[in-house]
Subunit: 158 residues, 2 copies
């Protein structure tokens, strides 16, 4: 799969942050995800499937997650509760939804967002699917997005 599938995800994240959160997100350099990396407090995870199969993960520090949820829900949060988790899930859903609209050739649909919290966890991709990581700087702090997408499994009927 060509690595330029990542661009619609990068654009989707920037646009979602600026329109939904009024928060500019500036991308940093793209890199391959290392195994077992886990540098964030809370992650939104959503699957994509259709003529390709993939996952998008958005990683937040607690501070950024609280600010983002507060902005979306017009409230103040001091810890990661159910509302914050739902807001992070919805944000992940919006980014994946905006990206899939730009990837028409794969006829993607998106699954439910799950939100994973807790220290010491690692979210791994299959070893035959290299996932790309894009860091972003925002005024609230850093975030990152991981995307793995493959058409090989779909073609193989796996």
């Amino acid at each position: 799969m060509r690595a330029d599938y990542i661009n619609p995800f990068i654009e989707a994240l920037s646009r979602t942050f600026s329109t939904m959160l009024d928060c500019p997100a500036t991308r940093g350099g793209l890199r391959l995800k290392d195994r077992q990396e886990s540098e964030h407090d809370i992650s939104g995870v959503i699957g994509l499937s259709g003529q390709a199969a993939g996952t998008v993960v958005l990683n937040f520090s607690e501070g950024v997650a609280l600010r983002a949820a507060g902005h979306m829900l017009m409230a103040e949060y001091e810890s990661i509760d159910q509302d914050v988790q739902d807001a992070i899930g919805e944000l992940t859903n919006m980014v994946a939804g905006a990206a899939k609209a730009q990837l028409e050739e794969y006829q993607l649909s998106i699954s439910l967002p799950n939100v994973i919290s807790g220290a010491g966890r690692a979210i791994n991709f299959p070893s035959d699917v290299p996932a790309l990581v894009v860091p972003f700087d925002t005024p609230w702090g850093p975030i990152s997005m991981e995307v793995g997408l493959t058409d090989a499994r779909v073609a193989a009927g796996v």
Copy 2:
């Protein structure tokens, strides 16, 4: 969504365990997932989408994960490494794939399996989607499966 969507997943897990792992899995009582529950060492997560949207999570203790991976890969494992993670991902993929074949009316396709490891983590579903938990007993130890599936979001165009 009717709760009987769970039955194809239960059958898929039992059949996958018996055919792929030569390991009978006997289901226990169905219940709703509590918030923040996290009782396992390693989880396979995969998204489903199409005319419904959902997630399947398979939860394993380390011991069961090592036995399952060992059986699939004809090797012995003493800790959760890349091979074990890939095997758990593939097992999750197979269960979701077998279940979707029985849920034709939703025209589901499956995303990439991600494998989440580490203590202290919680995998949450959106609060408007009640996820069901099915425990299973196997000769290797207990496992559990969580499934959330909704057609509401798809209908609403979310």
